[in-house]
């Protein structure tokens, strides 16, 4: 496992910060706007690149957990700098049934606004955000880029929201 990239890791937006609104394409003729999810929590999964081994495992785990996220009334979206056609092929190949958003033009702009762009690599960090029903960051986490952060942190944050815990 590659832990060496940990040193240059970004610091994500803090809980309590308003999550920057964005609109990004999810297919060639559809897009997703964060503020359209107001009223329910949203999980933002920033990941470095389609097709890389860790990303595939991580996203497969989230696919497996979609019923849990739905039970907690949450939407989950993936975000990387890959273009929309790469996302479509990747989602089809890996059986992923949640939106993968293309932070492609201007490249990495949304990742930068969430403070999770790695300019050294030209990709996003491996970072997780849970945004509450009012569009406020409830929880954020930047994982070492080679480490799959799993899902327990996301589930805890969503359960806190469900039980009305604020930070």
């Amino acid at each position: 496992m590659d832990l060496a990239n940990d040193s240059a890791k970004a610091t994500a937006l803090a809980p309590g910060t308003e999550a920057p609104d964005f609109t990004l394409p999810s297919t060639p003729d559809q897009s997703v706007t964060l503020s359209e999810f107001r009223g329910q929590p949203v999980v933002l999964v920033f990941y470095p690149e389609d097709w890389s081994p860790v990303c595939s495992d991580q996203l497969a785990l989230y696919q497996e957990l979609l019923p849990e996220f739905q039970r907690l009334n949450a939407e989950l979206v993936g975000i990387s700098v890959d273009g929309i056609w790469s996302h479509l092929a990747f989602a089809k190949d890996r059986n992923l049934h949640f939106p993968l958003l293309a932070d492609f033009e201007p490249k990495g702009e949304v990742s930068r606004r969430y403070q999770v762009y790695r300019s050294s690599d030209g990709t996003s960090e491996r970072a997780l955000y849970v945004v509450d029903a009012d569009g406020i960051v409830h929880w954020s986490y930047v994982s070492p880029v080679g480490i799959n952060p799993g899902a327990d942190g996301i589930l805890r944050a969503l359960e806190e929201l469900e039980s009305g815990v604020t930070r």
Partner: protein, 181 residues
């Protein structure tokens, strides 16, 4: 810092009644694996775990829990249910070993054949698989893994703490010996 840290520890304690266990209950070290029968990395880890068990003898208790990632491995769920169906007949470890030794054939037909070869009550096995009798147990294992910070397969825990290093025989042995000391 805005990061939230948490320690990756086994969320569901080991239970001699519930879990599939090899080795004595009072062994000084317990190794837990969350695994998927179709996952090639788990297949690669299988002989390493066997070697570690052979070398540690009764100093080691080994526990296996299911973590099928069906998104990537379409046969993993049924394979896990087959191992649980064998467990219901007291034959978990035989099926477990058989599955890892025949990882490339995990269709429902293959599972049926393995159950026959192991001499299980085949009608019971078939009907339990068809009715997904063991589905809830497999899901319970899976969710306990998620809550414990399992992030891929295989994920190992040494005395309840996630083993974030390589799982080759020597590294695993070193970690277990250290935990035993």
């Amino acid at each position: 810092m805005t990061r939230t840290e948490w320690s990756a520890e086994l969320a569901l304690p080991i239970s001699e009644e519930r879990d599939h266990i090899e080795g004595p209950a009072d062994a000084p070290v317990t190794l837990v694996e969350y695994g998927d029968y179709e996952c090639p990395y788990c297949g690669a880890a299988y002989p390493m775990v066997k070697e570690v068990q052979a070398r540690m003898g009764d100093k080691l208790r080994f526990v296996f829990r299911n973590f099928p990632i069906t998104t990537s491995h379409p046969h993993a769920e049924h394979a896990a249910e087959a191992a649980e169906a064998a467990a219901a007949q007291g034959r978990f470890w035989e099926m477990h070993d058989y599955l890892y030794e025949h990882q490339r054939g995990l269709t429902d037909k293959d599972l049926h054949q393995y159950a026959e070869e192991l001499g299980l009550d085949i009608d019971r096995f078939d009907s339990e698989l068809a009715e997904h009798v063991h589905g809830p147990r497999v899901r319970e294992d899976f969710m306990s893994g998620v809550r414990s910070g399992v992030n891929g397969t295989p994920t190992f825990y040494v005395n309840g703490r996630r083993h974030d290093d390589s799982y080759d025989t020597e590294t695993l042995l070193a970690a277990l010996e250290q935990a035993k000391a």
